[in-house]
């Protein structure tokens, strides 16, 4: 292929390769190995210290745009909580679809544990606007921010919420966030109220959270699909009875998604190498042609 044609490669060929690279590993699983990293292990270890008397606040701060990355980690963390009978108070602070993300994921996971009771072992309080104001106000009183659950039940009538007045009654906050909301949990809630915070976020936003991880403002970080796959791997290793749930055909998990992401990364790196190789070769040829 001539260099000029290679450098000006039709972008539809690139799109086609990316589409094939994404589709084939999802249809025919490769099964790349997963090695957990310390930020993920930290959150897992913290949840392993919690039990039936403890309460986790799960904040669904993402929408459908980032659901493929964040929903698997939300499912894994909730499964972990329910496996250990940790009680979960779930809220949503993201306006574009957060309320349905939270409700759907919590509902799916709760359905896998029929012995757990809505209102006693978990509750979904729904969405509230004014993100930072709501976060700050929950430090004084949850009931002032969420006077009703998402199902319309007054919080004072919910047995679980009778034990949760404010952050002092929460043992861990886990924010599944798509943007700066995860940072706000760290620099607003952890900094002002001292409640431990962990964040699960997209791969694009994860690098920014390392500063908070290093300062101890967040105790664990799940970064993107890789972080989600690591958490799933840890969960299955610690609770082997969950393995069939992750091996089910037709069910999307982060470990399956990592196959596609790995192939796509390889394709992108290959294109960068090809593009630069062609670019350098053309420059050499032009400088060789130049007189003198």
């Amino acid at each position: 292929m001539k260099l000029e044609r290679l450098v000006r490669l039709d972008r539809r060929i690139i799109y086609l390769l990316i589409a094939v690279g994404t589709l084939l590993p999802i249809l025919w699983r490769i099964g790349f190995p997963v090695s957990p990293t310390p930020p993920v292990q930290a959150l897992f270890a913290r949840l392993e210290t919690l039990g039936p008397g403890d309460i986790v606040l799960a904040s669904f701060d993402y929408g459908p745009t980032t659901a493929p990355e964040i929903t698997p980690m939300a499912r894994a963390v909730l499964r972990h909580c329910f496996e250990r009978r940790i009680r979960v108070v779930a809220i949503a602070l993201f306006p574009l679809g957060g309320v349905t993300m939270g409700g759907e994921v919590l509902g799916e996971m709760a359905a896998e544990y029929p012995a757990l009771r809505d209102g006693e072992d978990y509750v979904y309080l729904g969405y509230k606007d004014g993100t930072q104001a709501a976060m700050k106000l929950m430090g004084a009183s949850f009931a002032s921010v969420f006077p009703f659950s998402n199902a319309g039940v007054p919080v004072e009538e919910i047995p679980l919420m009778q034990q949760v007045r404010n952050y002092a009654d929460i043992d861990l906050v886990v924010s599944f966030s798509t943007n700066v909301i995860g940072e706000w949990w760290a620099n607003l809630v952890n900094a002002q109220f001292g409640v431990p915070v962990a964040v699960g976020t997209t791969a694009v936003w994860a690098p920014k959270h390392f500063a908070f991880l290093d300062s101890g403002q967040i105790l664990g970080l799940l970064g993107g699909l890789k972080g989600a796959s690591e958490y799933e791997h840890l969960l299955v290793a610690a609770y082997p009875r969950l393995e069939p749930l992750y091996e089910r055909a037709g069910v999307y998990t982060a470990m399956k998604g990592m196959d596609a992401q790995t192939v796509d990364h390889a394709i992108i790196m290959l294109f960068i190498l090809i593009g630069n190789a062609a670019h350098f070769w053309m420059r050499r040829r032009e400088s060789a042609r130049r007189p003198g």
Binding site: I14, P64, G103, A133, G152, A203
Partner: protein, 232 residues
Amino acid sequence: MFWKLRLPLILTFLVGCVPVVTFFLAERVPGVSIVPTTVERYMVIIAGFALLLGVVNVVQGSVRRIAQRRPGWPFAISLLAGLLVMGSFGVLSALRVGPFQGLLAGPRGEVTPFLWMTRHFFDPLQAAIFSLLAFYIASAAFRAFRVRNLEAALLIIAAFLVMLGRTPLGEYIFRWAPGGERWLPGLTDWFMAVPNTAAQRGVIIGAALGAASLSLRVILGIERSYLGAKER
């Protein structure tokens, strides 16, 4: 002049000072903490009205585009249709009118109209739009990632190391060496924990100082762009 400029400036100053002053007084003076809590409660309500303001803005802009037959006006019709349908479904579901009983699945697992629309329209459309980025990134990486100077070379090397280290490929490459499967992932972890953290910290501190400076300018009435007035 008083109603349009001076009164908003006075209100901004008073309301802006409340959280700052009460933050320091809350523990020393009993009963003061009720003030910032009340203000925060007002903020949650006002934030809802800010969303409403956005909706009004979008509707006005779309109606104008349709009326004047500006380029892309059919898309304004589909935008208004989506806004009207999802918005009305949401409001009726929140008020529990007729078949619109709530936003999520019912107690017996029955799918509400709002949830049906979310699952079949909102979620797939949002995910589809965002998924296009993967193709654009791949195309941009091929066309624009050229090593033209030292900085570009460092950027591409770092990008490669992180892309390899954050996928199982990084473990496979040096698997033949004892402990080799941790070389690239370990290097990536170091990148994230040291240079990246240092740079992000600078950005975060800079942004926080900028936000504090802007807040002070707004509270003191120096920054008046939110009133449509020129800076003092």
